[in-house]
Amino acid sequence: MNILIPHSWLLEQLETKATPKEIQKYLSLCGPSVENIILKEGENVYDIEVTTNRVDNMSVRGIAREAAVILSQFGLEAKLAKLDLSVGNINESKLPKIKILNNPKICKRVTYVILENIKQAPTPPWMIKRLKQIDQNVHSALIDITNYITHELGHPCHAFDYNKLIMSGGEIIITEAQKNEKFTTLDGEAFQTLGGEVVFKNRKGEIIDLPSIKGTLNTSVDEKTTNVLLLMESIVPKKVRYASMTHAIRTIAAQLMEKGVDPNLAPISMNKAIKLYQDLCQPDAVSPIYDDFPKPTKLPNIILDKATLKLYLGVELENKQVTQILTDLECLVTPKGQTQLIVTPPSFRSDLLAPVDLVEEIARIYGYHRLQSQLMSTALPLNPVKTQNFDLENKIKILLVHLGVQEFYTYSLVSEELAKQSDLPLLEHIKLQNPLSEDMVYLRRSLIPSLVDAKKQNPNQPDLEVFELANVYRPQKNDLPKEELMLGIVSGKNYRNLRGKIEVLFESLFIKNYQFLNHQTKSLATIVATAVDGQKITLGWIKVSQDNLILAQIAVSKLNKVAKTHPVYQRIAKTSPVIEDLTFGLNADTLVGEVINTIRSASKKIINVQLKTIYRNNLTFTITYLDKETNLTNLVIQPIREKIVKMIEDKKLAHLVGTLVSSKHD
């Protein structure tokens, strides 16, 4: 939360000669962060970020309190101003009291005062200036005083029209609403309760206020108001939050009270409010203050071990210094033996509950900047994660990039349209309950639609090839989804080109025995490889889309099963290979892969078969023959050549083009 504090206002609560720049610098180092000093209405105004656990800082006095403690640490004189609680001569009002029926379980304190016959005065210029400096609207003195007090001292208060309260029965019953009860806030908006919100009701059961949040129209002050009931209550924070969030009424009062404003601030705020009403609205008389505070705040006694402080800071601080800091922060400090302190925090520090909370207070006021900086020399953990292989992921990315495939990052959340393009039913996608936009609703089951989409965004680069390594999300019953890391590739080149890159990738990962197998039913190829233990593993698939894009998706965890970090060394042969070409004219339905496999199978001496050229349906293959022990002669090779041709022709795959020419190696 942010709060605006004009410097001149701060100086009414803080006695110091420190400059705004100094205040900004030192506060930010040891306390709330002063993000900016803004010039408003010709004066310096601090824009301060207050963390949600420090609602005690959400007021001018709260910031002044912090500044008083912190500035002193830097040798600057600073003192929290004493509050002037004098109210001057007042006539006591004899107006009948409003009866309060409280439920202490939901409301910890109720304080009110009746101001009799107030004058409907305009807001004075000095208050208008301040309200503008803190970005608040100006109404009339009657209303603005409540906002002013809230900002100055931190406890919200509400002005009721006393006569309206009397007319509605003269009672305030503090209770939880039932379901579907109606109320209209003071700006005319109508609501229906959900049940459980803390409300004020009259004896007829009508809702007459939404306490600690917003007033209702039926009891609100207006231009005709003559008598005012100024009331401060302390509703249990959880209940304030519940009502405020349920109906989305996020007033300043609600945002403060839901964080637990100290009920002990009520008397001071009430006093200051009465004084302001006296000055600006001149009531004829003021009633005695009604205060119902059945259970005064019980403050914890926290035992702080000096060893704990040393443990967190890594350095031992002097007792005197530690006690001084805590006392400055208004804690009660009593030594317990030589090594402990019993610390009682002030009532406005409900965030201080455990020793470690005190450690934070001492350390920040002492100054984090004063602590040394050194790396830990503790033991190194020796338990790498077994289910992920980050080295492999990096290798894949770097290699693909060097092969010309551009890395993209696309969103894990996709639109309904993209989800449907994954070839898996929409129902088998994980869906968001509260998406922000239509293009991000489902967690994707495939990377391909997003990558195709991304590629299409670059129509002037038809040759573009893209890849991404990211999770896809498979729903599992009664459990978190299975997040599977996938390598997705989309290429605008051609099948042989992308397949070639994938093959190079596999070779670089020392994956042997990989195969691209025509799928039985679908128009794609399944990519398989053999694991170290001999198991055949399906790595993924590759296909040509309707738009002639080449698509491929491979599961990285499966790659991890077959990839190795180094090869099995093959002793370098002392003999020379024989490399020669054979050209075959393929028959109409022949698959090239089958021809290659047939050639390979003709002899163990064939160590490599490469497709060299394609001219219409004539394919030239480069065949490498090698015997590691003896140099091959034509005598040995010719029968193999003949066997190759016979096998091919017997299987009716193709016919030899040309004749079997003897090699020159004789």
Partner: protein, 366 residues
């Protein structure tokens, strides 16, 4: 009928013509059109194959194939290499092989990983879709707590399977998802990895974790994307203190941004750390002074950049991970990968959405 010798003769003729043409100043396009075009010389010859006998056709086909390749080679050779003379012209530009680029986020993650792995951190990756318990509750944020408002959470459209087991601060593992299931969310931060890491090592420190993962928040504008990356560091052992956190932050700052960069910590608040800090790094542009030539430095706040949060692990979080806070202490920090990366000199990117776009003009710069 033609025979193969005739064909060979015609091929030779065309080769001679090309030889002559190559020494003249014909353009690439002109040569390609004349020899390899739709009505080019090669086309003319290749059509003659139909006039050969069936016996000779295969061989003729081979010769034509070879011939075509030769033509292509000779023509392109002329235009990719300068004419060999005795003197070599070294000002001729290089022929760059076409490579692509690693995405900047990958580059950032690789660098961040390496920096922490050098000081013994273990890289991990924890779920993006996680139980509410790991994302909030185990981090000292009870159900319905206002602290959760800090993050705009995406909820998964699955029921909250946790039975009516009430939250008990003194018993943080009472509502563990393995016991009662729960509500699934998209994690808003990598902090969901803290208790998961404690569980992974059987609640036995030492722990030095670097968790890098995708995170999600219901927010989108020039400085926020619904999906982004964070990295989370967690160190737990006996005697870990604030000085060690400062040391680690300084180490990272110097490694990632340069030897002159410093870190500083200021008070902040998270439910899962106590004390909590905001972490700043000194501005590399103004050298941390806040001024350039007596003018206010526009890139930073008074000499510093806010990077993210950090803190000493809250005792309740240690307990949620089965670790005794009386025996062990630890620190944690969690920052955006994109934000941290774009604080590098020269990388102030005005719109973070570019990182997830398909704009090659952006991606190929890295």
């Amino acid at each position: 009928m033609l025979n193969i010798k005739d064909l060979e003769a015609k091929i030779t003729l065309v080769k001679n013509t090309l030889d002559q043409d190559l020494s003249h100043n014909l353009s690439y396009l002109q040569l390609k059109t004349k020899y390899l075009g739709k009505h080019g010389l090669f086309k003319n010859i290749s059509e003659l194959i139909t006039q050969l006998s069936p016996a000779e056709k295969p061989q003729a086909g081979q010769k034509l194939n070879q011939f075509k390749l030769e033509l292509e080679k000779l023509i392109s050779l002329k235009f990719t290499q300068p004419q060999p003379k005795n003197k070599v012209d070294y000002t001729v530009p290089g022929l760059q092989p076409k490579i692509a680029k690693l995405h900047p986020i990958s580059q950032a993650i690789m660098e961040i990983s390496q920096i922490f792995e050098k000081i013994g951190f273990v890289r991990v990756r924890y779920p993006e879709v996680d139980w509410d318990w790991y994302v909030f509750e185990s981090l000292n944020m009870p159900p319905e707590h206002p602290a959760r408002d800090e993050w705009e959470t995406f909820f998964i459209d699955t029921p909250d399977t946790s039975q009516d087991v009430s939250y008990d601060e003194k018993n943080p593992r009472l509502r563990h998802p393995s016991l009662i299931g729960g509500k699934q969310v998209l994690t808003t931060h990598t902090s969901n990895g803290q208790v998961r890491e404690m569980e992974r090592v059987g609640s036995q420190p030492p722990i030095r974790m670097i968790n890098i993962s995708r995170c999600y928040r219901r927010q989108q504008d020039a400085t926020h994307t619904q999906m982004f990356h964070q990295f989370e560091g967690l160190v737990i052992d006996k005697g870990i203190n604030i000085q060690h956190l400062k040391g680690t932050l300084d180490y990272f700052a110097k490694e990632f941004y340069g030897p002159s960069v410093q870190s500083r910590i200021r008070p902040f608040h998270f439910r899962f750390t106590e004390p909590s800090f905001e972490v700043d790094f000194s501005c590399h542009i103004c050298g941390g002074t806040g001024k350039i030539d007596n003018q206010k430095c526009k890139f930073c706040k008074s000499g510093w950049h806010e990077v993210g949060g950090a803190g000493m692990v809250h005792p309740n979080v240690l307990k949620a991970g089965g670790i005794n806070p009386e025996e062990y202490t630890g620190f944690a920090f969690g920052w955006g990968v994109e934000r941290t990366y774009t604080l590098k000199p020269g990388l102030s990117i005005d719109d973070i959405r570019l990182l997830y776009s398909s704009d090659l003009r952006f991606l190929t710069q890295f």
